[in-house]
Symmetry: C2
Amino acid sequence: MEVTVAEDQLIDLRKKLEIFFDGNEKHHEFCPVRDIMDRFGDKWSLLAILNLGNSGKIRFNELKGKIEGISQRMLTVTLRSLERDGLITRTIYAEVPPRVEYELTQLGKGLLQQIMELAQWASNSMDEIMKARMDYDSKLQ
Amino acid sequence: MEVTVAEDQLIDLRKKLEIFFDGNEKHHEFCPVRDIMDRFGDKWSLLAILNLGNSGKIRFNELKGKIEGISQRMLTVTLRSLERDGLITRTIYAEVPPRVEYELTQLGKGLLQQIMELAQWASNSMDEIMKARMDYDSKLQ
DNA sequence: CCGAATCCTAGATGATACTG
DNA sequence: CAGTATCATCTAGGATTCGG
């Protein structure tokens, strides 16, 4: 499969890039792209968002069951971080034993959509990437 | 700013999700999304791709100059990894002193486009995220 | 049930020195 | 110029234990 990018499309890309990245050594202070990448560049945030999008309201341990291999600690840490950024809500019910439900906010759903776009690209490009890796590795003897 | 997601849109999202993520405990072996995330979840890949997209063909040290704070070692590591995945090409010129030029492949340009979409969302959502963070932090006393 | 606190390790990154 | 090699550091994440 070939991805084609026309020259004028690239020029447009470059124009957009200047919004976020500035080669002229100015305002490196803050980059929203970097910030978002850090947000789900970690090990679990992405999976948490995907599962929350798939489930609507969901309880802590129910979510834990859906995310293969995550520890209790990391689920807590991940959810706190997502909550802090306003991507999910956390609702505590005053019951015994306690019940806590998580749900994507509108903002979180927006991010989920972006992730889905990326996922689509990833899925479409996977074969090409895997082939490139095999080619590369085979050339190292 | 409000992001609105219609119910049918969400249903569509869920359908897409099932391509990559399966709550029913099957084929966890390989997730292309996870793989792509790992690709630029590291510290420098994203910046490298952005700068390569901005520059066309570019030499090692020239690129190093554009990426604020990157070490020689990490630029090498990052570029090797991108090359392995077929996202960039590496061209060596048999000269003294040596000259090596890097450039995005079509595949790499495709990824760049995806990143730009994400960047656009990130940029648009930044204010809302920052506000959520301040609200959250202020409630911890 | 949900989570906080603690301790610990692997892997990612940085600093530095050396080379074709 | 464009790397490699080595060593030091730093942090995300896992295991475990305790508590409301």
